[in-house]
Point group: C2
Chain length 342, copies 2
């Protein structure tokens, strides 16, 4: 099932149009003025042969791939769809191709999946690239932009991230001030995940500023994952730990929290208030509607592309873009109509 008739090349076009391949290249790329009449002949030949320049040849000759790579750990959930949508749309507008790679694929990696050998620059989400490789790429001045992750010591790589700490602090303060909660569980994300670390800091600061002592018993791991959060909550319940609210780390984990609480007949928010983070698609539709923090995920993707393109154009990129988050009060915290008819 191989390609049957050899595909046309630039040489075929040149012959048909009666010009040199250099001229064909020029009209294709509009890189140098070409007499209109000649250009027209070339275009006709291109159409007739249905010629499309081989990307590989073009990349090799021009020493540019016109492609950017996206590295991330996991394709999952609404969060990822939002991020990718932002990246893709912004990238197309700039005329770049997108190569994606999920480091979660546990198949042994022979070659470096994405790097200077196949892209002009890289977008790196959270800790999807080892520090080693990051350092190497940075050292050779390879264009990089990090998302939701600050660069290791001494590396100056642009970062796009969100106001995790402020959002979390507002959220937890709300539980304390408006709803009088004092025994608030925090479900951490994956180890080393910066979003989680900042959110935890916001959580702690909120406690501290309200004179509530930090209780390590109330901080457990939910991994930003429904199942893990469910398991963590079950353990907390079994251990008989006392609490009146849960900050689930992110919205996905909140689903697991809901399940665990409902399963043991706790009423949300009366018995236990629950809040998340991200405000993904389903958050407003679950019952009770989830109080959370809106993270501008799609915009993070867009902005990351913008900064990367600056680097690709030899311009300065902004070293840190911190996008604002907003509290979204719904019902799971204890506010609002208890499902009157939203």
């Amino acid at each position: 099932m191989a390609i049957t008739n050899r595909l046309p090349t630039i040489t075929d076009v040149a012959q048909l149009a009666g010009v040199s391949i250099a001229t064909v290249s020029r009209v294709l790329n509009a890189s140098t003025p070409v007499v209109e009449e000649t250009a027209q002949r070339v275009r006709t030949a291109v159409d007739e042969l249905q010629f499309v320049p081989r990307t590989a040849a073009r990349m090799l000759a021009s020493r540019k791939t016109n492609t950017i790579g996206l590295l991330f750990s996991e394709i999952r959930g609404a969060f990822f769809a939002h991020l990718l949508h932002g990246i893709e749309s912004q990238l197309r507008a700039a005329g770049y191709e997108l190569l994606i790679y999920s480091t979660q694929s546990d198949h042994p990696i022979k070659r470096k999946p994405l790097g200077e050998h196949n892209t002009d620059g890289l977008l790196v989400f959270t800790a999807s690239l080892e520090k080693e490789e990051l350092r190497r790429l940075n050292k050779i001045n390879f264009p990089l932009v990090l998302m939701h992750q600050t660069p290791p010591e001494g590396m100056n790589i642009p970062v796009i991230t969100i106001e995790n700490k402020d959002g979390a602090e507002l959220l937890v303060s709300h539980l304390i001030e408006k709803h009088g909660r004092r025994r608030i569980v925090f479900l951490q994300g994956p180890a080393g995940h910066e979003d989680s670390q900042w959110r935890e800091r916001g959580y702690r600061d909120a406690l501290e500023s309200h004179g509530i002592p930090f209780d390590p018993e109330l901080v457990v791991s939910g991994e930003f994952d429904e199942e893990q959060a469910f398991a963590a909550m079950q353990k907390l319940l079994l251990d008989g730990i006392d609490f009146d609210a849960v900050f689930s780390g992110d919205d996905d984990a909140a689903i697991g929290v809901y399940r665990a609480l409902k399963m043991t007949n706790r009423i949300i928010p009366d018995d236990v208030a629950v809040v998340g983070f991200d405000d993904v698609q389903f958050s407003r539709y679950i019952s009770p509607a989830l109080t959370t923090v809106r993270a501008p995920i799609e915009e993070v993707g867009r902005e990351a592309v913008r900064q990367l393109i600056r680097l690709l154009n030899g311009e300065q990129a902004q070293s840190l873009v911190l996008m604002r988050t907003d509290l979204v009060i719904r019902e799971s915290c204890g506010c609002g109509p208890k499902e009157v008819n939203p």
Copy 2:
């Protein structure tokens, strides 16, 4: 901000190892046996120089891109994340790269985004590629696999899709038989969307086999989209059309239906039963929990990759893979516990 020191090439490696570039290529690709001692020297040189072969050069010389392309119309919602996850994981296992392109990006396309010039084969979701281009690619024997879309007349291109009609028929029959509904609205998907067409057929067949006359007034467009579905429902309500159930086309649209009904104080399922299609992440968590049809989306992605790889290997692909769907009864149809504590 250009790459500072020239990147090492195969020639640098060859010199350092004291062999020809052909030998370096051979140990890198394990394409021909090389004396172990020599191979070792090459590997050492590769490590020392941190050499990674330029993808473009390799593609050009080998006349293979080792890349497959994914074309689809819209990156949106949980549906897409599931599909992409299936595709990505299966592709990595086979050692291919993934280039993605969303035809929705309304930026004028200069060059063909994905095709024989930059990929070895294409995965095409729904109608994301014009019939013209499909015919052209098929004619030159370019490996193609379609998802959720049968090929135009006379083209033999493998298809992976799901049992839309059976699923829809079961769903609607359930509404009729178990819940006595007879005025059932159907919300169509985008024009020309095959999933929608088959679901409509299932809907009609269910009506017919239960002796319920088809009423064109009850069929309106929801576009598989929350907002469109919301608008369509509002219009139906305003027009005073009488109905006792809604088959929303897909789960995303069901959200819009919920909103419109709740806004006008209709109780789901008592006043109006609602059912969806797909069983995406949020479906079990909305209130009332959505009765729907489970579509094995991730598996569709996996299977599409499997078939495409067969073609790439010169093997025969299965011309049609029809994946089964299952009815998922929850509460929005009128069954089950009215939120006892799921």
